[in-house]
Subunit: 112 residues, 2 copies
């Protein structure tokens, strides 16, 4: 009964993928499980989201990939490039700013 994450997911997959890849290189299938696990099973990215994001990030130079054969199965490992690190920093900042701003509105801040 894994509920999907509705409503607030825009841009989140890209942010989390970059963050996790900053720590070590991983392949798509692994990312899905790692993010699910580390989020306390709250976030389920799904392969239909991971692979397009991965390809887009590689195309834009944020990630570099290498194919590896493991037990006859083929894996594509992705690693952060310097551009990817910069992109992560930007996304991370804009996420922080947004979630802070939302907290302000939700707690009924008096004025700016």
């Amino acid at each position: 009964m894994a509920d999907s994450n509705p409503h607030f997911m825009n841009g989140v997959p890209e942010l989390l993928i970059l963050q996790v890849l900053r720590e070590r290189e991983m392949y798509g299938y692994e990312l899905v499980e790692e993010i699910h696990r580390r989020s306390g099973t709250v976030i389920s990215i799904g392969e239909g989201v991971v692979y397009p994001v991965l390809h887009g990030l590689e195309r834009s130079g944020a990630l570099a990939s290498r194919r590896v054969k493991v037990n006859g199965r083929s894996r594509v490992y992705y690693a952060l490039t310097p551009q990817g690190a910069a992109r992560l920093e930007g996304l991370s900042d804009s996420w922080s700013r947004l979630s802070d701003a939302i907290r302000l509105v939700m707690t009924g801040a008096a004025h700016a």
Copy 2:
């Protein structure tokens, strides 16, 4: 130089609109400014977003509207219904769960 809010806005307008309307009834134009102000000018919803959301929420029974004439100008005030309050609660919870989960991933949580 009003920057737009990119990447992480999915579902946020609806959440904030419901939250602000829980405190008092308001009209569309006013909501845009109130949210912008209370967010510390970080969030700019835009009329092209506010009106469709307002109409959708009314159609689904979360809001009730009434027209008011003020100085010859016509305003449409929106107020939260009980259904709207329930919807707000649900959205607010799912926002909290998501932002907590993201924080877990971003801070490199050990495991579930």
